[in-house]
């Protein structure tokens, strides 16, 4: 029955190569011909997926990322990023919206993803999987770690409670002290003509980040856009490269 369905034009038109894969080559072609599967290796050696070797931390990180994407999109249907509504919308999400656990899933998932990404990095380091030809993928992985932390940081502000506001106040002060682009950083005073400073509290990197001189509506909206659109968009590009390079650089945890 299923095999007959696979021979129909309908099935063949959707799945390139179509038909029932009968040989190793055809099975391989099924993977290579799918836009989603082709990032994945065509075949996995049994030893490569040993849990005690990989800890499955990379896979878990991606799985949690998918959970966060779905739960995050669901939260966007109720959350309004304004000073007036942000905090009460978060309360509503827990107490009034059906399945009030959705916000907790997103929050705990975010914590879990940061942990699994760090453990993944630790595992890769301990098994020496950063060595050539995988050194570039290590670099991509470091960027992914950074993006994960930035996603965590931007999401931190959105509940707009005291913890969030002061945590981001403290955190964004790092930008204030950045060389040349932060108004209190080294070199910022050099960027001036006479008495006119170009890098001031109203024109430095921290200002660009939080859209004002202190935490306010601008910061909340900018962090919301970065958290929901900007950073996920960038991290997905790097994830695609990361997964594709795993295959190209010799597969997961296989000596090369």
């Amino acid at each position: 029955m299923l095999e007959k369905f696979r021979e129909t034009q309908f099935y063949k038109s959707i799945f390139r190569g179509g038909g029932v894969p009968k040989s190793r080559r055809q099975r391989m072609m099924v993977v290579l011909n799918s836009v989603f599967l082709h990032l994945h290796p065509v075949r996995l050696p049994k030893h490569a997926v040993k849990l005690k070797f990989t800890w499955c931390m990379g896979g878990l990180s991606f799985f949690i990322f998918l959970i966060l994407t779905i739960s995050g999109i669901l939260l966007m249907f109720y959350y309004r990023p304004t000073i007036e509504y942000a905090y009460t919308d978060i309360i509503d999400l827990a107490e009034q919206v059906p399945f009030g656990i959705m916000r907790e899933i997103h929050r705990w998932g975010a914590h879990a993803m940061v942990i699994t990404v760090w453990l993944h990095m630790f595992r890769v380091f301990m098994t020496g999987s950063y060595k050539p030809p995988r050194e570039f993928n290590w670099a991509v992985g470091v960027i992914l770690l950074l993006l994960t932390l930035l996603l965590s940081f931007t999401g931190y502000l959105l509940p707009w409670d005291q913890l969030a506001i002061w945590a981001i106040t403290v955190g964004s002060n790092m930008a204030r002290a950045a060389p040349f682009v932060g108004h209190e950083g080294p070199g910022a005073a050099l960027l001036a003509i006479g008495d006119i400073n170009f890098v001031t509290m109203g024109s430095d990197m921290r200002f660009a980040l939080i859209g004002g001189r202190f935490m306010g509506e601008g910061a909340l909206l900018r962090f919301y856009v970065l958290h929901c659109i900007g950073l996920p968009f960038i991290i997905m590009i790097f994830m695609a490269v990361h997964f594709w390079r795993i295959r190209k650089d010799g597969g997961i945890s296989t000596p090369v």
Partner: protein, 190 residues
């Protein structure tokens, strides 16, 4: 099929200009190698300029022309509005300053903790500013004495307007560790 063959044979026609003459020929619709390269460089410059302009615009986009924030310079009433020996909290939330009056005069303290930028609270019973984030403590003068704060609170410029009102200018700050608190604008003698 016949078309392709005829095209192929057309390129091999003997009447075609020999390659050596291509450099000089700039007649009609033919583009010479030399002018091709100058057009190419113009094209690249235009492309780089357009791209650079676009990214500059994108960067500038993040700095709005109007900020809906309290102004940096404001009138804070008359000196007599402030009690001697007290820390005044009335401008704390709106402008982020404490105005303190002692026997000699008035000074304006920034409410930004010098450790990591939180806002301390004035504890009247203990006569100190205490930061809730990491526990930094400051005397009424703004001098730090406990917790991780590395330096005293900053003071802002304070002057009198013609009608006798206090004017606070937050764009000019005075730091004790730089010896700026002795500046005449850092303290208003009353």
């Amino acid at each position: 099929m016949a078309e392709i063959i005829s095209k192929k044979s057309a390129t091999k026609e003997p009447g075609r200009r020999p390659p050596a003459a291509l450099d000089k020929a700039d007649t009609g619709d033919q583009i010479s190698r030399r002018s091709f390269f100058s057009w190419l460089s113009i094209g690249w410059f235009a492309f780089i300029a357009a791209t650079g302009g676009f990214f500059t615009m994108m960067l500038r986009f993040f700095f709005p022309n109007v900020l809906f924030e309290p102004v940096q310079t404001f009138r804070a009433g008359f000196p007599d509005d402030y009690t001697i020996g007290e820390v005044d909290l009335r401008w704390k939330n709106k402008y982020g300053v404490w105005i303190v009056r002692n026997n000699e005069g008035i000074y304006v303290l920034s409410t930004t903790c010098t450790h990591l930028g939180c806002t301390p609270n004035w504890l009247n019973s203990e006569q100190k500013f205490k930061c809730p984030c990491h526990g930094s403590g400051f005397f009424k003068t703004g001098i730090n004495f406990e917790g991780p704060a590395p330096r005293p609170l900053e003071r802002f410029k304070i002057t009198l307007a013609d009608n006798g009102q206090i004017i606070v200018d937050k764009t000019i700050k005075f730091q004790q560790e730089k010896g700026q608190w002795n500046d005449p604008e850092a303290f208003l003698n009353v």
